[in-house]
Symmetry: C2
Subunit: 238 residues, 2 copies
DNA sequence: CGCAGCGTTGACAACCTTCAAATTTGGTGG
DNA sequence: CCACCAAATTTGAAGGTTGTCAACGCTGCG
């Protein structure tokens, strides 16, 4: 299997063989983490950068009312906290949703890369900018889209992101989470999340079962939400 | 008047006199831009970094339905697009809301700073991280707060940000925008924005008139929304 | 077998949007 | 200074979307 980090960063820079070798060395010796386990907690001051190689993780925060808000999903190839040591203190937490393989990259290794390898450095900054663009789109969607369009948008975005790291199977990809967690992501109640899913299933647009999402009618789904993956800043697939 | 960029970055690093002098030189020769004018348009590939020295600007996007979504406010001291040239193409626009003074900083000047001045470099990255944290909080608020709490949260956040650049007058600061624009920021209809404002006014919590916001009862306002400015990562005021 | 968590359903209430219209405000030209 | 116009604010009413509460069935696991 090709390394998801390399696949992802290839969208941002023309990586050379030496770059790929360097990135592969970074990914040696991942740590396996079980599902639903905190990786970094609010208040921590992490000194290493983390990289998800396998599985699904999220950024989240508990709220005064006891609820949980999830405001980012990390799929293989995604980095956490490339630069968060500058802030000193995490203002939110990270946790696994499924079982994950995570690599801890020492600060010195990142320093070495940014000092010596402009191609990879550029690609890393590209990745953080894309993360921010995703966040903006979630906010716009929350403000302006109904629940069914929001859900469809999330599923379409994830399809493109999984395809970008070679982990989609046609129009299908793994998403082993509960409807409760899906509600925490979308900011919807469990009940409404369930009803929205049923609506989209009845339309024949999507399937969400056995921990997988399948977009059954991508043409129509994209049109319904005017989906434009441009904000992910990926290269067209060859 | 002290330079807002210097005041802002002082929260992130112990600037030396030479740093301040360098930053002041950066801010020489601002351009005056009238209210409601685009600074950068979606699709552009800006080659300079911009800095707001005076006035209010925003990041926004027009939506398929013709509406406008505003997902960031820029106040004096805020930078736009420190690194966006990496993405090649803007996926949203920036515009002034009030009359602004904006500085264009050549890419070479940023390059020079990041190559030679680690204190300012660190402070600049800090600023982009804070921007991201603000974005996350807007998303969480949208998901989990009612309109009145959202509005209150926005007004409290802006108070803290204005205080951080020395532009607040007690618990009051300038916000010369219409209720329509406020609705675009909060993702609420104009009608509901208006009614929400009336509710908060009737509670004696805030005033919003003549282009200024005043938090009339900060104690109670903060408590109502469990406001914790920690996510802005500012130093305590002395 | 019993339990706990998840998915599903129904009924109802709350929040917010939309539509339509009246009122106020601010700017411009006579 | 006043008349006029456009834009913004405000009000009312109705309808749609989503949340909350409560209950039930299902599934996997000890």
């Amino acid at each position: 299997m090709t390394n998801p980090l390399i696949l992802k960063l290839s969208h941002a820079a023309d990586l050379q063989d030496e770059d790929r070798a360097l990135l592969r060395r970074l990914c040696a010796r991942p740590t396996a983490i079980t599902a639903r386990t905190d990786i970094i907690r609010e208040g921590d001051t992490p000194s290493t950068v983390r990289l998800v190689l396998r599985g699904l993780a999220c950024r989240y925060q508990y709220l005064p009312d006891g609820g949980r808000a999830i405001f980012a999903l990390l799929i293989p190839g995604d980095l956490c906290d490339l630069h968060v040591s500058i802030l000193g203190r995490m203002d939110h937490s990270l946790a696994t949703l499924s079982a994950c393989d995570v690599v801890e990259i020492p600060r010195a290794a990142i320093q070495f890369i940014t000092d010596t390898n402009p191609r990879i450095t550029r690609a890393l900054w590209w990745a953080t900018l894309v993360d921010e663009a995703v966040l903006r789109h979630w906010l716009v969607g929350k403000n302006r889209r109904l629940a069914d369009q929001q859900l469809l948008h999330l599923f379409c975005e994830l399809l493109v992101r999984f395809q970008a790291v070679g982990l989609a199977d046609g129009d299908s990809y793994p998403l082993p989470i509960t409807q409760i967690e899906l509600g925490d992501i979308l900011g919807l109640s469990t009940v409404h999340t369930n009803r929205t899913l049923q609506g989209l299933r009845a339309e024949g647009l999507i399937a969400f079962e056995d921990g997988r999402v399948t977009i059954l009618d991508r043409e129509r789904a994209w049109e319904m939400i005017s989906f434009d993956p441009g904000y992910l800043h990926l290269k067209r697939r060859r």
